[in-house]
């Protein structure tokens, strides 16, 4: 499972970084999305991988923490997802405004001159 998860994070962030460095604004948006998925998975993995364990402990009595998943990264991931979703939506709006104003989807608002 560790291999699969780390490979997934690696591939997502590699694709994300490549796309972010592209000149088209839509590619940049998709790249940022992929990067944020990679980061969310990464935050999740920082709570250690514990398959099938609940994050919420029952009330009372002695509890063995090794039987439970760490709830903090799960809460962090939720927050991070919401925030990155909102800011990406905002970025999309700005991107569309830029496309409308400049007539091009180049991130600099103008095409590179042909040699």
């Amino acid at each position: 499972m560790e291999i699969i998860l780390s490979a997934a994070i690696g591939i997502l962030s590699a694709s994300g970084i490549w796309l972010v460095l592209r000149p088209r604004s839509f590619q940049v948006v998709i790249g940022l999305c992929l990067l944020s998925y990679a980061v969310n998975l990464f935050i999740f993995s920082m709570g250690r991988l514990t398959p099938g364990a609940p994050p919420i402990m029952p009330k009372g009595g002695f509890i063995d923490p090794t039987l439970y998943a760490d709830p903090v990264p799960q809460a962090l991931v939720l927050t991070a997802i919401v925030i990155s979703f909102a800011t990406t939506a905002l970025f999309l709006v700005v991107m569309i405004a830029s496309r409308g104003m400049t007539g091009t989807d180049h991130v600099d608002g103008k095409e590179r001159s042909q040699q």
């Binding site: 940022l32 990464f42 962090l76 990155s84 700005v94 405004a97 608002g109």
Partner: protein, 545 residues
């Protein structure tokens, strides 16, 4: 009741901003403006009260004047905690001091250029105040996102192709930086198992040898995210364009946005990698020094090569944050609190001066049609034909009261940024230079190189700004700009505050000295959180239902 004052700088702008969203801009602009002013004034009053509390040690704080506020009454480190110390209180005052003039200036016309200006402004204040107050890493992320989201809206305020393009770069840059922030935070959490800054400070020295590189990697990734905000050199190419494109009052407010990044680096590096950091003590100090020096160098080259006042002001923001970053590095390496005291004093002055400068740009350029005309003027001034230069004074305008006021304000800003007496720039730089000469922890060559950069950057600012001043005030055309009192009053107010900073320099340096000493001595911060009793655990008469 009194203890709840700590959370007021976050709640007041939040409630004000949310309330103003309910009303239409066009019909209620006047009401919104006054509501914003009242909110900002309340924040200023509370911030001043909090400074007094941080200085003397308030009723609920422990010995060192640090107050803690347990949100939701959860005991640390399980809940989120707000921490008020000298540094946080100082930054709160600075934010409110900058906010009021910027609001007044915006009322002269900028607030009509787009919807919900005042709400966004309040949310920006909320994010700033929250970032200064929080004692939790992830909460810091949330407040950063709040202030960034508001700043995206404010940067785009007024629309136009230039702003949208600069805004797109700014948003993309900050989204990427936020992702780095998350990676850093989660790495640190993965190693230490806590997000509470005070708890982290306790745990850093106990991290095992094999985990330490991971902790360092996390801190470094986190620092990159902060350095993007602070406008440190290789990460700052977006900054001048974005700041120049922003509407004038927004640009003035952005003067403090870079300082949030500087603040976060200062707070976290002193807390985690200060003297109590064990094997990690001093981590990243040399990099901070080098980046700070590179940023100052980049800023001074930018100031010299800029053709417009906007770009120049943006580069002087870089110089000021580079200076404080470098000094943070020196302090982290064991340079002693004295230089940090000077740097914090300098930070206050330079934020106020760059804020005033951003507000001055637009009135100064009004009659000659902005940047394009400025470029043409420069081309004239540097024309090969020297006869052109001689002719310029003949067509110069008679300086009237408007020009006099503008000119004096501009000159004072330049004096401050260039570090000439009697304004705080000089006193701050002097304090830093003195401490740099006296320090023994680092090679003298490095300290001298930094001193040289400080002096040269001031000189470059003087040259660049004087050039702009000559073009505007001596070589302008004879059409007088019509400047509203509402536009010049905020600038004058900021300069009066600057003068007061200079006048009260001794008291302020004593305060920043105490701040720097408190930053070096992390024990009060690191253990105070755990000594704070929950409301539920307190004796009966204190407990509230």
């Amino acid at each position: 009741m009194n203890e709840h004052l700590i959370i007021a700088p976050i709640l007041i702008p939040f409630v004000t901003g949310a309330l103003m969203l309910l009303y239409d801009d066009r019909q209620r602009r006047e009401a919104k403006f006054w509501l914003s002013i009242v909110s900002a004034a309340a924040q200023l009053l509370i911030a001043v009260e909090l400074v007094v509390r941080a200085k003397t040690g308030g009723d609920i704080s422990d010995a060192e004047g640090i107050s803690f506020y347990l949100l939701g009454d959860w005991a640390a480190p399980y809940g989120i905690v707000l921490v008020l110390d000298r540094l946080a209180a100082m930054m709160l005052v600075l934010t409110a001091l900058l906010a009021i003039p910027s609001l007044v200036y915006a009322h002269a016309g900028w607030d009509r250029q787009g919807p919900h200006y005042y709400s966004l402004f309040q949310f920006l204040l909320m994010g700033l105040n929250g970032a200064f107050l929080t004692g939790d890493l992830f909460n810091l992320f949330v407040f950063f996102e709040i202030l960034l989201a508001a700043s995206y809206g404010l940067l785009l305020h007024g629309s136009g192709q230039l702003r949208v393009r600069a805004g797109m770069h700014y948003i993309a840059m900050n989204l990427a930086a936020s992702l780095l922030f998350l990676i850093g935070v989660s790495l640190i959490y993965g190693v230490t198992g806590t997000l509470n800054m005070a708890h982290l400070a306790n745990l850093v020295s106990a991290v095992s040898v094999e985990d330490r590189p991971l902790l360092h990697a996390g801190a470094a990734v986190l620092a990159v995210a902060f350095l993007v905000k602070a406008g440190s050199w290789p990460l700052s190419f977006w900054l001048p364009t974005a700041y120049m494109a922003a509407a004038a009052p927004v640009g003035a407010m952005f003067a403090i946005m870079t300082k949030v990044g500087v603040y976060a680096i200062l707070r976290l590096s002193m807390l985690l990698f200060g003297e109590t950091g064990g094997a990690s003590a001093g981590f990243g100090a040399s990099i901070l020094i080098i980046l700070g020096m590179a940023t100052v160098l980049f800023g001074l080259l930018g100031v010299l090569s800029s053709q417009s006042l906007g770009r120049m002001a943006a580069h002087s923001v870089l110089i000021s944050s580079g200076t404080v970053l470098g000094i943070t590095g020196f302090a982290l390496a064991g340079g002693g609190p004295a230089m940090l005291a000077g740097a914090l004093y300098y930070l206050i002055g330079s934020v106020l001066a760059t804020g005033a400068l951003f507000l001055l740009i637009e009135p100064m350029n009004r009659e000659d049609g902005g940047i394009a005309a400025m470029l043409a003027l420069t081309a004239d001034a540097y024309g090969l034909d020297s006869e052109d230069l001689d002719e310029v004074p003949d067509t110069g305008l008679a300086i009237t009261a408007t020009m006099t006021v503008l000119g004096i304000c501009f000159a004072l800003c330049v004096l401050m940024l260039a570090g000439l007496p009697p304004l705080p720039g000089f006193i701050g730089k002097l304090a830093m230079v003195q401490a740099l000469i006296a320090q023994t922890a680092l090679p003298a060559g490095l300290a001298w190189a930094f001193i040289a950069l400080l002096v040269v950057s001031g000189f470059a600012t003087l040259i660049g700004m004087a050039r702009i001043g000559i073009q505007t005030f001596w070589a302008g055309d004879s059409v007088l700009p019509r400047v509203l009192a509402l536009e010049i009053a905020p600038v004058v107010a900021l300069l009066v505050v600057l003068a007061l900073t200079s006048f009260k320099a001794e008291a302020m340096l004593r305060y920043t000295g105490g701040t720097a000493a408190a930053l070096h001595d992390t024990v009060a911060y690191a253990y105070g959180v755990f000594a704070t009793p929950r409301v539920a655990d307190r004796p009966e008469e204190d407990a509230q239902p």
